[in-house]
Symmetry: C2
Subunit: 773 residues, 2 copies
């Protein structure tokens, strides 16, 4: 291993740093028409009539279609992760009859420019009959609540229950019990590049080429092949090499991805749609919003005996998949030994934009609830919060550790590896925990509110079903590594060249990486759930090992020597260092790939040097981490000063440390947003109240506090590279750590921090309630 583990510069950086990145909107597709969507202004309404006559006459308009104009594609966008008991309401690409959230697409205008298309949107008359809406899980679960979907029995999409042991009994008999109610606000992905789709119909072949900022081109192709009733090879989905962020929402499949290519097919023209920021706020999926009513039972020493968590999950207007609720229920126990567990999650339909995975994906909420309770236990027993955690952490010799509940594939939830105590101690040490407690004491004596927050988490990642890679010796004598996975800035061109370089024993300069194009490799799943390094990584490694063997065997045949005597230097395989006995990659390609027309291959040469590997992990791997923060809070203004923040992170072996640091630190910024800033409010009628960055506080670099990051490397036994996922660990525990720190700071006032983000207003409320109470 010479390249794996090195902080190689990203190959992508040159073009990205010099403004040469090419995003979907940069694609110059000749003759392109531009699309704009008319979106529902109502959270719940019946569409009585759409009159697009005036819009169709508007300057530059080529076509206008309402949902009713395209009945052939109004088929449900299937939930990604299903559950047999899900009460599913079909999410149609552009519903012709009833809309269920503000922002849902109602009609599309295709025009010579986006400006003209948007002008024409205003000429479309839609006659709506508004219907009652629900805009929170509380409202959704209330007695006689309005129904998010007309005709439903209630607003519950599904109830997910996990049980291990005998929680009810144990809680009854436990020496101590504590309970709390915690709420985590919605938050979005807010990728720099919003969603975008361009599609070109190929009249020559009846095929359609689709450029899509999706995280899952093969998933998009599969959905479209079902909806369009077209063969998979007639649909080519390309995720451009440069996509400006994904973070989960782009792993979902949206109506616009169905409508835009279909309109391109119907018109026989190239059509492009790029979501603008305003649309992104009301139509791109969000996440987070959950209420946890959690009760823990514990003994006099703070050992956890049982946990019960009733969870209200805001599914939004449709169920795009049950991955988030499933993950939440299995994340509650976290890094702790808990003999009795009962989680019960009510996924509720609400008339807001649907929710699905956003970086963290159901984990920040569970970690928030659990880690808040760990602090409450410590407070109750007058123990140090770090000490309570120490007493409950799963120990390094307990892996593989069966949590007691189930993973969503029906198998026992099993942590593969980790060292949680060492991670916690390392974090505390770097924070200067003891000194910080002393400083806290001094500050309190001065009437200042300094607090320390800790949060430890476990994160399922690197899960199945599979990813694959092809490795080809090109006719130019390069090694081309092809992944199905599409990156959104993670540095795939660099990371997978590093992995291949080690397997091949070749310098990276000879290795190229291609991603995200369904025409390049037939099968794939996509970039989500911090899974690609641990799935595509081993596939690349294996395919590259096979390639090495093919190269050496071919060179040995051509040189008439024993393969064992060959070594690679530069792009040449050389026998015992003899320059006369040497074949370059190009030499090998010329014989075995290019061949000579009408000439027989030399004896023993196998033609067509390409290898392929698909890797299907046995089960998910588990990354872990510990965050710790020191904050000072101004109880009058509610301002939080994060003075110190330490992240301990363990994602197993690391391919490129600098890129993992980037993932963790970027994720941390995201986590700080969830912890302190981001709030996409909806009013009680389901009208979004924070649909621009004037109202929605997105974290920028200046809001990110100083942070120290360190890594542990507990290899995963589940894949040959020993890697785990690194995309979400920076985000997951941040709201819990900040909330714990703030409550710890305000402990003299007995203010309770139960909601994230912990904004100045919430702090003021908490202080006011405590003081008043």
């Amino acid at each position: 291993m010479t390249m794996i583990g090195k902080s190689v510069d990203r190959r992508e950086d040159d073009r990205l740093l010099t403004g040469k990145g090419r995003y979907l909107d940069d694609l110059e597709l000749p003759g392109t028409l531009h699309a704009a969507f008319l979106r529902s202004p109502h959270a719940h309404a019946r569409i009585l009539a759409v009159d697009a006559a005036a819009a169709r006459q508007a300057p530059g308009v080529v076509a206008v279609f309402s949902g009713a104009d395209l009945p052939e594609i109004q088929k449900p966008l299937a939930p990604k992760v299903m559950h047999p008991k899900l009460k599913d309401f079909p999410r149609l690409p552009m519903p012709p009859e009833e809309v269920h959230y503000v922002g849902e697409p109602v009609a599309i205008v295709v025009a010579e420019s986006r400006y003209l298309a948007e002008d024409a949107l205003e000429l479309i008359e839609v006659d709506y009959e508004t219907l009652p809406a629900v805009a929170s899980t509380a409202a959704a679960l209330a007695e006689n609540a309005p129904l998010a979907h007309s005709g439903a029995d209630d607003n519950i999409a599904v109830t997910l229950v996990q049980r291990s042991g005998n929680t009810d009994e144990v809680l009854k008999s436990a020496p101590h019990t504590l309970s709390g109610e915690f709420f985590v606000m919605r938050g979005g992905g807010h990728s720099m590049e919003p969603r975008a789709v361009a599609a070109r119909f190929e009249p020559a072949t009846g095929q359609v080429t689709i450029w899509d900022t999706t995280q899952s081109p093969h998933y998009a192709r599969q959905q479209l092949s079902v909806i369009y009733e077209m063969a998979e090879d007639d649909i080519r989905v390309i995720a451009p090499a440069d996509v400006g962020g994904g973070f989960g929402p782009k792993a979902q499949f949206y109506g616009e991805e169905v409508v835009v290519p279909w309109v391109a097919i119907k018109l026989g023209r190239t059509v492009k749609w790029v979501e603008d920021r305003q649309e992104n706020f009301v139509s791109t999926m969000m996440e987070r919003s959950q209420t946890h009513r959690i009760e823990v039972g514990f003994d006099d020493d703070g050992h956890l005996l049982a946990v019960r968590d009733y969870i209200e999950h805001d599914q939004g207007a449709y169920c795009a998949g049950l991955q988030v609720p499933s993950i939440t229920t299995s994340t509650v126990p976290g890094p702790y030994r808990i003999p009795n567990i009962h989680t019960e999650l009510y996924a509720c339909y609400t008339n807001m934009v649907p929710t699905s995975s956003v970086r963290g994906a159901g984990r920040p909420q569970a970690v928030f609830a659990m880690e808040r309770m760990m602090d409450r236990v410590a407070e109750y027993l007058e123990l140090d919060p770090a000490e309570v955690r120490r007493r409950n952490l799963i120990q390094a010799d307990e892996f593989p550790y069966r949590v007691g509940i189930m993973f969503r594939d029906g198998s026992p939830l099993t942590y593969d590896s980790g060292n949680f105590p060492k991670l916690l101690e390392g974090t505390l040490e770097r924070l200067g925990y003891e000194e910080a407690r002393a400083r806290q004491e001094r500050a309190r004596a001065e009437g200042r509110y300094v607090g320390i927050g800790i949060a430890v988490y476990v994160e399922g990642c690197g899960l199945g079903p599979y990813e694959g890679a092809k490795v080809r010796l090109t006719n130019q004598g390069k090694i081309l590594v092809t992944l199905a996975a599409a990156g959104q800035g993670q540095g795939y061109e660099t990371v997978y060249a590093q992995i291949a370089a080690d397997a091949l024993g070749l310098d990276m300069e000879h290795i190229e990486v291609a991603t995200g194009d369904t025409s390049r490799i037939p099968f794939g799943q996509g970039t989500f759930a911090s899974r690609i390094t641990a799935t595509a990584g081993p596939a690349v490694f294996d395919a590259a090992l096979q390639m090495r063997e093919r190269l050496v065997d071919t060179a040995a045949q051509l040189l008439g020597c024993d393969p064992a005597g060959l070594s690679f230097s530069g792009d040449r395989a050389t026998l015992d260092g003899d320059p006369e006995k040497s074949m370059s990659l190009l030499d090998i390609a010329r014989v075995a790939n290019i061949g000579k027309h009408g000439i027989t291959l030399p004896v023993g040469i196998k033609p067509g040097i390409e290898t392929v590997s698909y890797f299907a992990p046995e089960r998910a791997a588990y990354a872990s981490g510990a965050h710790a923060a020191i904050v000072e809070v101004d109880p009058d203004t509610g301002a939080i000063d994060v003075q110190n923040y330490v992240i301990g992170h363990d994602c197993g072996n690391v391919i490129n440390p600098r890129l993992v640091d980037g993932q963790v630190l970027g994720g941390f910024a995201h986590g700080i947003g969830n912890a302190m800033y981001e709030e996409p409010f909806y009013d009680a009628e389901g009208q979004p109240q924070a649909a621009s960055y004037l109202d929605y506080s997105l974290v920028s670099a200046t809001e990110v506090p100083p942070v120290e990051l360190f890594h542990m490397h507990t290899p995963s036994p589940l894949n040959p590279l020993g890697v785990k996922g690194a995309g979400e660990g920076g985000t997951i525990p941040a709201p819990a750590a900040i909330a714990n720190a703030v409550e710890d700071a305000l402990r003299p006032l007995r203010a309770r921090i139960d909601r994230a983000p912990v904004t100045p207003a919430r702090i003021s409320d908490a202080v006011y309630s405590a003081v008043k109470g």
Copy 2:
């Protein structure tokens, strides 16, 4: 084997017979510009200046480029089959300085329509300095001949010599020797669809998509990647599913294939060029033109002792490859035991359109010379021509038979299998040979000129280096077979589905076939030299066997049963006929290919069901055949009435008998053209004199005589299907058989038939010479 060997209807027929075939010119590529080429009116000239100013101003003209305007692509189009001693003169895509044949491209006009482009061609002023030209091999080899290429030492491109035994000595000491001089005229491929190229630059990616009527998309891509200095994946070459004939000339690579895509890239526009019939006559490669001076030595019984053949080969203005001369030299010995062989071929540059393979590819000329001599030997010894052949044929128990000379890959020329005596006897029997001889006697007695001609041949086919196939279980539950090879009407969609069906044990309805797209499979060689069934066929068979195993293994895993118990019926694998224990192809695809997002694969399931196989034959296979004709000739008019024609054909095992019949009979029509009609005359200055169908007699259905075809099936031991090539056998011996029959008819007049085609004028000349002589 249930489908292999069946005359299944062609899948292509429905669309072709109902006018729904889609050829390159049918491609509706939005925003297409149309190209036309200015071509040299001189056989040899220096370009002093090109003035395109007026053309650039012409209505609808977008751009005009002369060769000098595109210096970056003026790189040699490499000869396909090379020889170390070849004196190569670079064939440039659009030469900026000197042209070497009438029709060579000099400039391209790109305009809004082909009409406007052609109008503008007339406005381009080219100042030429004409240079002396040579327009025959005789002229090229004459003392003080003008030079086809300025600055050359002489007009000889290469001399190819093959020697076996001691021909000179044996000819000196042989009991009898005879010699003859034979000439075979040029002839073309004359596919119904001429050449065509369309190209679209993809500004989004810098890639270029090229639709090309080529027989070798991967070869075209390889050439372009070298000339354009682009990665192979940045060039996608698609041979449309419907191409109207190839016959060899489309297996070559032409300047237009370089210029049109390059101009599309430069302009960032889609550009299409479709060769018109007039261009086809002067710019698409031809073949045939050879002069053979052959001497044979034989004993009193007619046993051949030695053959020496001096061959002049017309290479045309450039060497596009030495395949034809190489094949000619190795085809001379044919099906006969000849202990001493000496062939010596002089490939000459002439100022005519370059030559390369046309159906038959150097074989008709060699067969013509050898088979004419067999008749002369018979005549000399007063033996029956059939009997002379019988005495010399290689016997069925002599395989593998080493001819004594070399194949062009440097290995000993070795026939794999055959039964030439049985083939000859079967042909004669069907012709009613004995009765025909009797009839000939009666006719002669009546003063009528009836003749019988026989020609036996051996044809190298199915040669390397390799072809490949991918077989995929699609997400729609179909089996997709992908070949690199591109068809031109041979029925690939049918034949390869038949082969796959047998390997898979599935009905053909579940199997689809895709061909001729470099983006679908990375490596391939192309359709030429009757090689695809014997190379891609075994690859498909092997990949499909692997697929069968993958399907059965996956179904067995899912059903929890022993794979051995499973059998396929329809699209389902069923255990012991129990409908409850059954998985459809779609069921299998859903698990192993589509997967479920975020769910682990069931234990034991291997994801990504695609298989691949490349087949590299050890050496070429040899098909064989015997043709026999009965003709009556009118010596006054030179008219030939072909009264009966029998073809005995052995291409080993047959996949689809009806399609092989189609190949042989179509090839026979082509052979009749070479035998009796086709003559692309050039005058002494290299000006084509038969550049339209007014002057060039292309065979139509009415000219094709009645023919009886029968097959023998001597399997090739060189591939698991036992198949050989069937594309050229109908053509190769026809000129020899007809010439033999005509000379036999005219034997009472002692007229000599030394030239093909045997036209009325040539018969009159021969009769006149004989009578005068």
